[in-house]
C-alpha cells in the first residue's frame, strides 16, 4: 500500500518535470517561429503600405525603379523620368490631397462618388504623372499602369542605406545604418570595458587580499543588478553633458556616450567571467613560473592570462552580446538618429533602440510593424551566433586542457 502511493507520487512528479520542460521548449520554439514568421513577412513585397499603390500613365515606358527612387521622386529630388531610366519628361506628382487642385467639388460629387472617374481622367491625360492612390480605385478598367518597382529582398533590407519606414509612399527599409550604429556602439563598449574589466579581474584574482576581494566581488555583482534605465539616466545626466563639453559638440548624445554607458554595463559580465577563468589557473602552474625566477607580473601576463585566455575571450564576447541587445540605456543616450555615423562623436541609432522606439507607433500587422520584427530577427541571429561562438570556444578549451 505504502509502496504504491510512493510510486504514484514519483510518477506524478516525473510527469510534472516532463511537462514543464516541454512547455519551456515549446514556448521558446513558438517565440522564435513567431518572430521569423512576422519578420520574413516583409520580403518579396512592394515597399508600399497595403491598400495603397503608385500608378503612372499607361504610356510611360519606365522599367523597374527602386524604393529609394520613389522616395526621391516624391521628395522632388528627382524631377525627370530620365533620371530613373525613363524618357525625357518632367515628373508630375500626385497625392490624394492634391485632387482639389485639379477638380471642383461639383466634379467630385457631393459624396465624392465621382472620384474614381476623375482620377482616371487625370492619370490618362498627364503623361508624366506619378500618383499615390488607394488601390481600391485601381481595377481593370482604370487607364493606368502600376509603377513597376523592386520588391523588398534580404539584400536590399540589409544593404539599404536609409531607415525611414514611415516614408510615404515608399517605406525606406535599409538596416545598414542601424547595423552600423549597433556595431559601432558595441565595439566601442567592448574597447572600453575589456581593458578595464580585465584589469579589475586580474586585480581581484591575483593581487587583492582575500578580505578586499570579499568586498569587491559583491560590489561588482551589485553593478549587474542595477536596472538599465538607471544606467541610461546616469548617462543622460552625467556622461552626455560631459562628452558635449569635452569635445565641444552641438549635442552630447553620441555613439561614444552609448559606448561608455554600455561599457559600464558590460563590466560585471566581463569581470566575473574573466576572474573565474583566471582563478582556474592551477596553483602549480603559477608556482612553476615563480620557481623559474619569474616575478608576479611576468607570471600574470605570460602564464595566467594565456591560461585563462579562452575564458577571457568568452567574457568579452558575452559582454558584447549584452551590449548588442541592450535597449533602454542606449535609447536614452545615443540621440537616435538613423544615419550612418562617420565618427564616434555622432548620434546613432541601434537596432534594439529602434524596435523599442517605433513599435508603439507602427500599425499592427503593417509593413513597418513587420519590418521591426525583421530587425528583431537580425538581432536574434547576431546574439545566437555570439552564443554559439562562445560555446565553441569553451568546448575547444576543454579539449586542449585535456
Amino acid at each position: 500500500m505504502r509502496n504504491s502511493i510512493k510510486r504514484f507520487v514519483e510518477k506524478i512528479s516525473e510527469s510534472i518535470l516532463f511537462l514543464s520542460s516541454t512547455v519551456t521548449t515549446l514556448s521558446v520554439l513558438l517565440i522564435v517561429i513567431f518572430l521569423f514568421k512576422e519578420g520574413l513577412g516583409i520580403f518579396n513585397k512592394d515597399p508600399i503600405e497595403e491598400g495603397q499603390m503608385v500608378v503612372i500613365n499607361k504610356n510611360n515606358p519606365i522599367r523597374k525603379v527602386v524604393s529609394a527612387d520613389i522616395k526621391n521622386i516624391f521628395d522632388q529630388n528627382i524631377t525627370n523620368w530620365k533620371q530613373v531610366g525613363g524618357k525625357d519628361d518632367s515628373i508630375i506628382l500626385f497625392r490624394m490631397d492634391d485632387i482639389g487642385n485639379y477638380f471642383t467639388e461639383e466634379q467630385l460629387g457631393d459624396t465624392f462618388q465621382f472620384v474614381p472617374q476623375c482620377l482616371a481622367k487625370l492619370v490618362d491625360s498627364i503623361p508624366g504623372i506619378i500618383a499615390y492612390i488607394p488601390s481600391k480605385y485601381f481595377n481593370k478598367d482604370f487607364p493606368a499602369r502600376e509603377l513597376p518597382m523592386e520588391k523588398i529582398t534580404v539584400g536590399s533590407f540589409i544593404k539599404g542605406k536609409e531607415w525611414f519606414p514611415t516614408a510615404q509612399p515608399a517605406a525606406q527599409l535599409g538596416v545598414y545604418p542601424l547595423l552600423i550604429g549597433t556595431l559601432i556602439v558595441s565595439l566601442g563598449a567592448i574597447l572600453i570595458a575589456l581593458p578595464l574589466g580585465l584589469a579589475t579581474a586580474i586585480f581581484m584574482a591575483e593581487i587583492a587580499s582575500e578580505r578586499l576581494r570579499k568586498i569587491l566581488k559583491p560590489l561588482v555583482e551589485l553593478l549587474a543588478g542595477i536596472p538599465s534605465v538607471v544606467y541610461g539616466f546616469f548617462g543622460l545626466v552625467v556622461i552626455v553633458p560631459f562628452i558635449q563639453q569635452v569635445f565641444h559638440l552641438p549635442v552630447g548624445e553620441t555613439a561614444f556616450a552609448g559606448s561608455v554607458v554600455l561599457g559600464i554595463m558590460a563590466l560585471p559580465t566581463i569581470i566575473t567571467i574573466s576572474e573565474d577563468a583566471l582563478r582556474t589557473t592551477p596553483r602549480a602552474m603559477k608556482e612553476a613560473s615563480l620557481a623559474l625566477g619569474a616575478n608576479k607580473w611576468q607570471t600574470i601576463h605570460r602564464v595566467i592570462v594565456p591560461y585563462a585566455s579562452s575564458g577571457i575571450t568568452a567574457a568579452a564576447i558575452l559582454g558584447i552580446g549584452r551590449a548588442i541587445g541592450e535597449t533602454m540605456a542606449v535609447l536614452m543616450v545615443t540621440g537616435n538618429a538613423a544615419v550612418i555615423p562617420h565618427t564616434w562623436l555622432e548620434p546613432v541609432r541601434t537596432i534594439p533602440a529602434t524596435i523599442a522606439a517605433e513599435l508603439g507607433e507602427a500599425p499592427h500587422g503593417g509593413l513597418h510593424f513587420k519590418a521591426l520584427f525583421a530587425l528583431a530577427c537580425i538581432l536574434f541571429i547576431i546574439t545566437m551566433a555570439i552564443n554559439l561562438f562562445v560555446a565553441y570556444i569553451s568546448s575547444k578549451n576543454k579539449m586542449s586542457k585535456r
Binding site: P282, L290, L292, G293, R302, V303, P306, Y307, S400, K401
Partner: protein
C-alpha cells in the same frame, strides 16, 4: 661547482601550526638526498624552504637559518629571482605551461631577460637532451606541451628547470604521478644529473629512495627523526620509528 646546503634549527609555522620543528642538517654537493616520511610530516614544506616557495603562503613564519654556500637565503636583501635561478624545482605533478614545447623550455630564459634567439635554441636543445627527451620531441617543438604523455611532460618540466642552469635541483615526488617505465626513466635521469647538480628529492617510495639517493632523511610529524647515508638508514636505522616506516609498518 655545486654548493653545500645546510639548515640550522629551522622552525616553520603555518599560522599556529608548527610544521617544521628545529630541523638541522647538511647536504653535500653533487649528491642526492632523499626526504622520506609519512604524508603530512613536512617533507614538501622543508623542500620549499630552499627556493623560498613558502613565501607565497600568507601567515607563514620561519625561524633559524638556511644557508646555501654559506649565505642565508632568508636574509633581508636576498634577490629571490637570483636564488630561484640557482635553485630549480620539479613538482609532484607535471605542470607544463599552456605553450609549445619549445616555449616551455625557453620560458625561464625569457623571464630572466635572455633574448638571443640562437642562444635560446641551443639551450632548449641541450636541456631536452639532458632530460633525455630530445629524441622524442625534436620534430614537434612547436606543438603544445599538453600533447605529451605524463612521463614526457615531467621530463619536459625537468628540462625546463635545467634550462636556466641551476646548481641545485629540488624534486617533490617527481615520479609519483607516473607509470613504472616513466619512473625508471626519471630515476636514470637523476643518476645522470647528480654529476652536475645537488639534488634534494621528496619521495614516498622506499625503493626509489634506496635506488637513487646517497643520503636519506626521515621526517615524522615535523621532526627530523634520522638523517644519514642511505645505506645506513636502510640497513641499520637507529630509531625504531625509522625502522617501522621503512619496513612498511606504518605510513
Amino acid at each position: 661547482m655545486s654548493l653545500i646546503i645546510e639548515t640550522k634549527d629551522v622552525n616553520l609555522y603555518y599560522g599556529d601550526f608548527h610544521a617544521l620543528k628545529g630541523i638541522s642538517m647538511e647536504m653535500q654537493p653533487n649528491t642526492v638526498t632523499a626526504f622520506i616520511g609519512p604524508s603530512g610530516c613536512g617533507k614538501s614544506t622543508y623542500l620549499r624552504l630552499f627556493n623560498r616557495m613558502n613565501d607565497l603562503i600568507d601567515a607563514v613564519k620561519i625561524t633559524g637559518t638556511i644557508n646555501i654556500d654559506g649565505k642565508n637565503v632568508y636574509e633581508k636583501g636576498v634577490d629571490i629571482v637570483e636564488l630561484r635561478r640557482k635553485v630549480g624545482m620539479v613538482f609532484q605533478k607535471p605542470n607544463p605551461f599552456p605553450k609549445t614545447i619549445f616555449e616551455n623550455i625557453a620560458y625561464g630564459l625569457r623571464v630572466n631577460g635572455v633574448g638571443d634567439k640562437h642562444f635560446i635554441e641551443d639551450r632548449v636543445e641541450r636541456s631536452l637532451k639532458q632530460a633525455a627527451l630530445w629524441e622524442e620531441v625534436k620534430d614537434k617543438l612547436k606543438k603544445s606541451a599538453f600533447e605529451l604523455s605524463g612521463g614526457q611532460q615531467q621530463r619536459l618540466c625537468i628540462a625546463r628547470a635545467l634550462a636556466i642552469e641551476p646548481t641545485i635541483l629540488l624534486m617533490d615526488e617527481p615520479a609519483s604521478a607516473l607509470d613504472p617505465i616513466s619512473t625508471s626513466k626519471i630515476e636514470e635521469l637523476i643518476h645522470e644529473l647528480k654529476k652536475n647538480y645537488t639534488i634534494l628529492i621528496v619521495t614516498h617510495n622506499m625503493q626509489q629512495a634506496a635506488r637513487v639517493s646517497d643520503a636519506t632523511a626521515f621526517f615524522y610529524l615535523g621532526n627530523l627523526v634520522e638523517f644519514g647515508t642511505t645505506k645506513d638508514i636502510f640497513t641499520h636505522p637507529n630509531d625504531i620509528k625509522t625502522q617501522n616506516y621503512i619496513t612498511g609498518r606504518f605510513g
